[in-house]
């Protein structure tokens, strides 16, 4: 159902992000979506990858602080108001949205958005009822 997202604690040091992504590339990990939220001191890097289990292992072996969680992937029709509709559907049900980030796909016609909500089951139900397509790991790669 849901998509595995990897979160990595990253210090704000020059080149640190490059080092991490290079490490994953060297291990043939394909990064499909990426978001980084940061302050002046540290950031949390969030990744959607083709092989989440190996990614967690690779990063942990390198001494990094890592966690994996399930997030929802939503296919948004590529028309004005598409994203707004999806978000409205969820918030109307009283489910709080923690963060969201979009990414480009090779497939045309829709944009994919990763959303992190407090309750995946309820959000999935609401989106299904509204006719909004939920994507799975397999749809992205």
């Amino acid at each position: 159902m849901a998509i595995k997202q990897i979160s990595v604690f990253v210090e704000n040091k020059p080149g640190r992000l490059a080092e991490i992504t290079e490490l994953l590339a060297k291990n043939n990990i394909d990064i499909r979506a990426l978001s980084i939220a940061d302050t002046t001191d540290f950031g949390i890097l969030r990744l959607i990858v083709n092989d989440p289990e190996s990614t967690v292992q690779i990063l942990k072996n390198d001494g990094m602080t890592v966690s994996a969680t399930e997030v929802l992937g939503v296919a948004i029709p590529d028309v004005p108001g598409g994203f707004a509709k999806a978000i409205r559907t969820i918030t109307d049900k009283g489910i709080s949205l923690e963060y969201a980030y979009a990414f480009i796909t090779p497939k045309s016609g829709s944009a994919y958005v990763i959303i992190r909500v407090e309750n995946n089951e309820l959000a999935t139900e609401a989106l299904n009822d509204a006719g909004i397509k939920i994507i799975e790991q397999g749809d992205i790669f």
């Binding site: 979160s7 990595v8 604690f9 990253v10 210090e11 939220a37 302050t39 001191d41 540290f42 949390i44 001494g63 990094m64 602080t65 890592v66 966690s67 969680t69 923690e98 992190r116």
Partner: protein
């Protein structure tokens, strides 16, 4: 319970008179028997009859660990070898060890000192006491050994190592007291829990801990694990070994054996005496020692001393648990900061790792302190707010304990610099060229 009540409860005036008399004797004795001191005292122009009051001690030059090392092995001995009956040495982490010698009188004085502190801590002739310090050149084990025998306790000289066998003896003998380092006592409890015997098979009621520092959290952990009452004692081989001071059952500071060791608290930079209650470096003068008398020995330990009488009835000076080492002390905006204070504040948070680093910088005319800790718990990464909350709560805790503003940075695990496996705790960049 008292071992030598008259001395232990002596009024302050009589104690001061006794100390002055013994101080004069020691200065004279050093001058006549130790060439190193003859030279030092001549240079300073100090002789025994110039010392009119205890305050005059400040005119005597200090002695340091380096002086002991420079005179390795027997250069500071005041007695010929025919009068020396025991030799101990402290482990030298850098350079030569420091070697100390005891006369018969010294050994007797030493065991009296230990007898007083173990009785103050609650040990009695009925106790069966296991000594889990390593024997050998180290003063800890033999010091406690003879002091405990002196009060009539049954001593089990188990030494350290072979923990399972030690635990067997403890169960089978019904051992009631334990002499160990706090960390070994904790380790023993962990092994004991893994064995097939319930903890109720152990009758340990009293812990006589020393030779390394112990945070309040660690003490509570040891007490819970063993169901014992933990007490702390203090000493160092240069002065005599354990027995310089120790906690009574009130546990409100360590009672000094002041008739044998004269304590001073001084500013570790200027060596100026500090007022009662102020934290500074402990400097100790031996008052009766014959083998290796020391004048104003700099212990490098930072503590406070109070002369308020204790609820237990003792009138002796009481020192706090050692706050830190003067070598490690940092002065930031006029406030003394010890890495050990930071360590005990951070201990207990599972979200962060064991390593930390203090970075001191000078920005304009103000010093700034940054404390770096490793974030190891991935589970809080889900919420950005959780990470910030952790950062803020650690920062507030540190600021409360240290009494100065600091910046707290969370860093990636293993990112703190290490020298020979140990984290570099302090990075003082104040004197770096910009």
């Amino acid at each position: 319970m008292f071992f030598q009540k008259e001395i232990e409860t002596m009024n302050r005036k009589d104690m001061a008179a006794l100390q002055l008399e013994r101080l004069k004797w020691t200065v004279d004795y050093c001058y006549k028997n130790v060439p190193f001191y003859t030279k030092r005292l001549d240079e300073a122009g100090v002789t025994a009859d110039k010392i009119k009051s205890l305050e005059d001690i400040k005119y005597i030059p200090v002695t340091t660990k380096a002086d002991l090392r420079d005179n390795y092995p027997f250069g500071l001995f005041a007695k010929p070898m025919k009068d020396i009956v025991r030799i101990h040495a402290s482990s030298g982490t850098t350079g030569k060890p420091t070697v100390v010698g005891y006369t018969k009188n010294d050994l007797n004085m030493w065991s009296d000192c230990v007898a007083r502190i173990v009785m103050a801590a609650g040990a009695t002739a009925d106790d069966i006491v296991q000594i889990s310090f390593g024997y050998g050149m180290f003063t800890g084990a033999l010091g406690l050994h003879y002091g405990l025998e002196k009060i009539g306790a049954s001593v089990v000289p188990n030494s350290s190592g072979n923990t399972e066998k030690a635990l067997m003896f403890m169960r089978d003998f019904g051992t009631t007291a334990l002499v160990a380092t706090p960390s070994y006592a904790l380790y023993m409890s962990e092994i004991a829990k893994e064995l097939d015997y319930p903890m109720s098979d152990y009758k340990i009621r009293l812990g006589l801990f020393g030779s390394e520092g112990c945070t309040p959290e660690m003490r509570t952990q040891i007490e819970k694990a063993w169901g014992l009452f933990a007490t702390d004692n203090y000493g160092m081989s240069e002065l005599v070994g354990p027995g310089v001071s120790g906690e009574c059952e009130e546990r409100c500071g360590l009672h000094f054996n002041e008739d044998y060791f004269y304590p001073e608290i001084v500013d570790s930079e200027t060596l100026e005496p500090l007022a009662e209650g102020e934290a500074g470096e402990l400097v100790v003068t031996t008052l009766c020692k014959e083998g290796i008398p020391l004048l104003r020995y700099r212990t490098r330990d930072i503590t406070r001393i109070t002369y308020e009488p204790c609820k237990c009835g003792r009138t002796s000076a009481r020192m706090d648990k050692v706050i830190g080492r003067s070598d490690d002390m940092l002065k930031i905006r006029g406030v003394n900061v010890f890495p050990s204070q930071i360590e005990s504040t951070l201990i207990g948070s599972e979200k962060i790792g064991a390593n930390y680093q203090l970075v001191v910088r000078r920005e304009g005319f103000a010093d700034t302190l940054e404390v770096k800790v490793e974030l190891v718990d991935g589970s809080i990464l889900e919420s950005y707010q959780d990470v910030e909350r952790l950062q803020n709560s650690l920062k507030h805790k540190l600021q409360t304990v240290l009494g100065i503003q600091c910046k707290l940075s969370l860093v990636e695990p293993k990112s703190l610099q290490r020298f020979s496996g140990k984290a570099q705790r302090v990075l003082d960049l104040r004197n770096e060229n910009k």
